[in-house]
Amino acid sequence: NSKGQGGSEKAPGFLAAPEDAASELGALLQLPKEGGQGHAFVPHLLEVLAERILRGLDGGAPWLQPDSRAIRYMKRLYRMSATKEGFPRAHRSPLYNTVRLFSPCRECEPRRRDLGEGDVHSVDLRFNLERVTALEHLLKSVLLYSFDTAVPISSSITCICHLSLKEHDFSSQVCPNISHSLAFSLHFDVRKRKWVEIDVTSFLQPLIAMNRRNTHMVLNFTCVMGDPQQSTKLDNPVNVALVPPSLLLYLNDTSEDAYHWGNSLRHGRKSPARARPRSGPLVHPTKGDKGKRNSQGKRASR
């Protein structure tokens, strides 16, 4: 129980669900009803299932359906991160075991100020990061841009962006809004890339570290056709309808249920209790008796 201290401290496992939900869960999983304890500490995966049942049972808020673009992107990430059988692939950086993709809050539809062609566009972005548990440590965070298909297919587009983070720091009345800001440019060829990723790790790190689960960002951007390096003046601004970006977090889940890359030896390693027959007296790896080791060494090579 020391792990399950409620709130976002909740460990990936969870204590026995309320009896009715547990029996529902048991029925669905054909688990024995009498095994009430059998439901305790089921892994996170089933926690999501139980949460769905609980919401269904007590008429809680229905599950929000994710954005279809988000699902398409995450399916592509799944294919890159796991084999067909579902085994995690190695050789990637960072060594994440969890990736979460958040779309901007629906209820607070990003406010756009209608501006003329080539003016600065401004979008309000709020992300609710409640699903990030305290045991999930941030490795990398990325703003993920995709484009409305209505965007004129051109050779390339360059956007100058300015991202500012609004933290509603209620403690200090003097300056309610402390904002960090980040300026960057996006240069991409719309035909080739459906997604453009902007690394905002250093930008968000402090927020995640302080367990802030609600982020409010304001994005100002202006886009021009082509590459500013070539065309000296912004003579062909374009009214690019940038779809509000999603927020992608690469995390290292340190809970017991999660797969830890350091354990990859484990799948070749014998189970701890497995007694390996000793071929001779225990020889300390460093101090061992030279003579014995050589003879053993010779015998082994023979």
Partner: protein, 133 residues
Amino acid sequence: QRRNESPKAAPATPPHDLSEYFKQFAFPQNECELHDFRLSFSQLRWDRWIIAPHRYSPRFCRGDCPRVPGQRYGSPVHTVVQSIISERLDPAVPRPACVPAEYRPLSVLTVEPDGSVAYKEYEDMIATKCTCR
């Protein structure tokens, strides 16, 4: 034995008893081993929020454990002791069971209640080796 016995002794045991006799040392017919079980999340009606993988084979261990598991299952000596106790001293002590000894992880793509999408890698989701314990 036949030479020592007087001619009146009962005829030697017919050969088929020998096979009975040796059976007790052979591996059990349905010995402890890994079995496949291919599961699709749509069977559990989970496919609405488990997006990938579509199928999953957790595999499981089933079968009888031999009286002396030895090297084959990498069982500790305790297993042999437990087997002897169960057989000779106290049948209430359970015989060694056929259980998984090693696992592999599984990557899962889920839709979360708040509409976000999560890619997670779970430890110990697919059994890859059995043992007697």
